[in-house]
C-alpha cells in the first residue's frame, strides 16, 4: 500500500506534481541578519527595521506549517546568531516540518553546539566553505580563524553522523583550489556543490560581482574541471531550479518561498518581490492563490523559459530571474554571468562532443 515506486523517478514525479499545482514544499526563513562573519559578497541587505521577536517567529512558523510546508530551512545572516535559535528550530520540529539549517559553521566548532544541533534531528545542515585554506576562506569571511572553526564543525558533524552538504561559491580567491576543497569534502564523506555564479546584493549593489572568477576560469571549469570534480559526470547543459520539461524556468512562487527577518514573504531567496507580510495575514492561503505578485512571477517564469527556448544558445543557459531583476532591473534580461557560463558550457559540449543532456557522447 505504501512503498510504491520508490527511487528518484517517483520522487521527481511528485516534485513535478507539486510544481504544476504550485504546492509549496519548502520555505526558507531568514530569522536574523545578524552574523559573525563579514562576507564581502553577502547578498543580505538589512533595512534597519526591528527584526521579528521570537513569539512573532513562532506565529509565522505556525502559519507556514498550517500551509503544509514540508521542508523548512533556517538561514540568515547566521541563524545560530539568533539568541533563540534552538527554541525556534525546536518549534520547527514540533510543528512536524523537516528542518534544514544553512550556516557558516563557525559556532558548530563547539562540541556542545553540535550536540544541541543533533538533538534537533535536522534533515541536513548546509555549510559554506570558501576555500581550502585559511587565506582564501578568510579573504571572504574577513574573520581570522574562521577557516579552522568551519573545518572543525564539519569534522564534528561528520563524527556525529549528521548529513551535511558543503557549498562553495566560486570566487577569484578560491578558483584555483577547488580540487583541494573537494578533498576536504571527501575526507569527511560529504558532497560539495560549487556555485559558479556570484550574485549582487538584494538591494542591487553589484559590488560582490568584482569577486567573480576570470573568464578563462569558466572555460577551464566547464571543459575540464567540472568533470574531474564530479567523478566524471558531464556538465549539465542547463541547471535551472525547476524540473526539465516544465513550463517555467524556476520554482519561484510555485514550490517554495522565502521569509525575511521582518516577516516579509518573497517568491524565492533570489527574487525579492514582496508578496506580503505574514504578520498581517491570518493564513498563507489568503495570499498564495490570489496574490498579483505571485501570478506575475509565475507568468514571468514561463516567459523566461520561452525566451530561452527561442534563443539558438538558450539550451546552454542556467538562468535566474531574481539575479536578472536585482542586477539589471528586468527579470527577463540576460545578465553577463549567465551569458559567460552559457558560452563556456556550449564550448565544452562542442569540445567534448556531447550529444544531449543525458551525457551521451558522440566521441
Amino acid at each position: 500500500m505504501g512503498d510504491q515506486g520508490q527511487g528518484k523517478t517517483a520522487y521527481r514525479s511528485m516534485v513535478e506534481t507539486a510544481f504544476a499545482q504550485s504546492v509549496p514544499l519548502s520555505a526558507q526563513f531568514e530569522i536574523t541578519y545578524r552574523c559573525n562573519h563579514l562576507c564581502t559578497f553577502c547578498y543580505n541587505s538589512p533595512t534597519g527595521q526591528r527584526e521579528l521577536r521570537t513569539p512573532q517567529i513562532f506565529d509565522i512558523l505556525k502559519k507556514v506549517s498550517d500551509f503544509g510546508v514540508l521542508y523548512l530551512t533556517l538561514t540568515g545572516g547566521e541563524p545560530l546568531c539568533h539568541r533563540d535559535f534552538y527554541k525556534i528550530a525546536g518549534e520547527v520540529r514540533r510543528l512536524g516540518m523537516a528542518l534544514r539549517i544553512y550556516s557558516n559553521g563557525y559556532l558548530m566548532s563547539d562540541p556542545k553546539v553540535v550536540e544541541k544541533i543533533m538533538a534537533l534531528k535536522p534533515l541536513e545542515v548546509e555549510i559554506s566553505l570558501h576555500g581550502a585554506r585559511p587565506e582564501s576562506h578568510e579573504a571572504l569571511t574577513k574573520i581570522k580563524g574562521s577557516f579552522d572553526k568551519t573545518v572543525q564543525a564539519i569534522e564534528l558533524l561528520s563524527r556525529a553522523g549528521q548529513k551535511v552538504n558543503l557549498k562553495c561559491p566560486i570566487t577569484r580567491h578560491n578558483q584555483d583550489e577547488l580540487f583541494e576543497v573537494r578533498k576536504i569534502a571527501d575526507k569527511y564523506g560529504y558532497y560539495v556543490t560549487f556555485d559558479p555564479v556570484i550574485t549582487p546584493k538584494d538591494d542591487g549593489d553589484t559590488g560582490p560581482l568584482s569577486l567573480r572568477p576570470d573568464d578563462a576560469f569558466f572555460t577551464r571549469y566547464w571543459e575540464e574541471d567540472y568533470i574531474k570534480l564530479h567523478d566524471g559526470r558531464l556538465p549539465p547543459r542547463a541547471n535551472h531550479c525547476a524540473p526539465e520539461g516544465t513550463e517555467a524556468v524556476c520554482g519561484a512562487a510555485r514550490t517554495g518561498f522565502t521569509l525575511d527577518p521582518y516577516g516579509n514573504m518573497f517568491p524565492c531567496v533570489a527574487f525579492r518581490r514582496k508578496i506580503g507580510n505574514l504578520l498581517e495575514i491570518d493564513k498563507i492561503e489568503d495570499i498564495w492563490g490570489d496574490s498579483p505578485v505571485l501570478a506575475q512571477v509565475r507568468g514571468l517564469g514561463v516567459d523566461a523559459r520561452d525566451k530561452l527556448n527561442k534563443r539558438e544558445d538558450g539550451k546552454y543557459f542556467t538562468f535566474c530571474m531574481g539575479v536578472a531583476e536585482t542586477q539589471l532591473g528586468d527579470p527577463l534580461a540576460i545578465y553577463p554571468q549567465a551569458e559567460t557560463n552559457a558560452r563556456a558550457v556550449r564550448q565544452a559540449y562542442e569540445l567534448l562532443k556531447i550529444e544531449d543532456e543525458s551525457g551521451k557522447k558522440s566521441a
Binding site: M1, G2, Y11, L70
Partner: protein
C-alpha cells in the same frame, strides 16, 4: 499470541505532506531520506496519530477509496508492519500491544 497495535502512531520525528491527488512525501526520522507514498498510504499516514484505531482508519479508507473492508484491513496491517520495520512508527503503538 501475536502482537497487535490498536492505535498506531507515526514516529514523532517524521514529517509528511500530501501532494494533490497523487499521494505524498514522508521524511524518515533520523535519516536524510524521503519516501513517496500513494494516495491511500499518505491518507493513512496522516491518521497514524495514536488517536485513531485500526477500525477507524479502515472506515476512512473504505469511505475514500474503492476497496473492500477485508482488503483494506489486510493492506493496512501490512503497511503498518512495513512502517514499523523501517522505524517509522512511534513506541506508542508498541506500548499498546495486546495479546490475542
Amino acid at each position: 499470541m501475536s502482537p497487535r497495535i490498536d492505535y498506531p502512531q507515526r514516529h514523532p520525528d517524521s514529517s509528511f505532506r500530501p501532494i494533490g491527488d497523487e499521494g505524498g512525501l514522508v521524511v524518515l526520522p533520523g535519516k536524510a531520506e524521503v519516501k513517496v507514498l500513494n494516495p491511500a498510504a499518505i491518507t493513512i499516514f496522516g491518521l497514524l496519530d495514536g488517536a485513531h484505531s485500526l477500525d477507524q482508519i479502515v472506515d476512512k479508507v473504505t469511505g475514500d477509496f474503492d476497496v473492500s473492508r477485508e482488503t483494506a484491513m489486510a493492506d493496512l496491517r501490512s503497511f503498518i508492519g512495513e512502517l514499523a520495520s523501517q522505524g517509522m512508527l512511534a513506541g506508542g503503538g508498541a506500548e499498546r500491544q495486546e495479546q490475542t
